[in-house]
Amino acid sequence: MIAGEAADLLTFRIGPARAALPLSIVREVVQAPAIVEVPGSHSQVAGVTLRAGVAVPVYDLLIHTPLWARPEEMAVAPGRRSSAQHLIVCGFGEVLVGLLGEQTDFLEGSAPPETTTRSETIRPEYLRGHLRSGAEEVALLDPAKLFASLGVPDGGRPPATEDEGEEDPAGR
C-alpha cells in the first residue's frame, strides 16, 4: 500500500483489538482448518496446516506478547491457544503465513490511515496507523514488522513446498 492511497483491507478481531491487514497480502481465509501442534516450535506458533500441499505455519497473535501493550491483561493463559476459528493465510514474499483471527470482514477502499497513535492495546511499532470502521477503531498492522517479530524470514526465502524445499522430507 502506498502512503496516501486508499486500499482494500481485511479486518479481523484478535482478542480485545480489531486489526486489519492489506488485502493485497491475503491469499485466503479458511474457517477452522485442521492445525497440528508442532512440539519444539516457538511459543507463538499454534501449529502447522496443509494448504494445497504446502506446510503453512499458523501463528496465534493473542499469545504473541511483544505485540501487546499490556500482555498481562490478555485473556489467554500461558501455553493455551486462542479460540479464533478463522485462519488468514498471507503471502509474505514467497512464504505463506497463517494468522488466527475471528470476525473477519472486508473493508473496501478505506481512507489512508491516520498516523497518530491511539491504540491502547497493540504496540504502535507494529502499526501503520488507525482507521475507523463504523464506531470501531481498527489498528492497521504493518505486515513486515509483524512477521519479522514472529520470526518469519524476510521475503526472498523460497516457500516450503515439496518441489522446491531445501530438504527432502522423504529422505531421498
Binding site: P39, G40, V48, P169
Partner: protein
Amino acid sequence: MKLLMVSVGSGHYAVAADAVVQIFDPALERGFVPDGGSGEIVRAGARHRVAALPAARTRPAGTGSRLYLVLDEKTGRCVLPIDSAEAIQEVPGTAIAPLPSFIFAGERRPFRGIFFDGRGPRLLLDVGALA
C-alpha cells in the same frame, strides 16, 4: 515410503518403518528398568538411550508410555516411548510437505514434514534427529 503411525499423548505422528527395529511392551519385559530421569532404560541388561518428544516430556507424572519403539539410525540406536502403534501406511514422498525451519525454537528439528494421512494432517518424525 512405508510409515508407522504412532500416538504420543494427544499427538499423532509417523515414523519411517524401516528405522523401527522392534516394538516392545515394557510390562512384558523381564528386568525392564524404566527411565527414572536418567534418560535411559535398562532392557535385558543393556542400557538404551530414550529419545522423547517435547510433548512426551510434558506428560503428567506417573503416566508412563505403553510401548517403546527401538529405532536404528546411522547415528545410533535409541528407544522412543509411545502410547500406541496404529498402522503401517504407504505414503508417497511427494505427499510429504517439509516444515519451515523458522518455526522451531532450537537447532534440533524433530520433524521432517507433514502429510495428510486420510483423516487429517500428521507430522513425520525425523528419526535421525531423535537417535
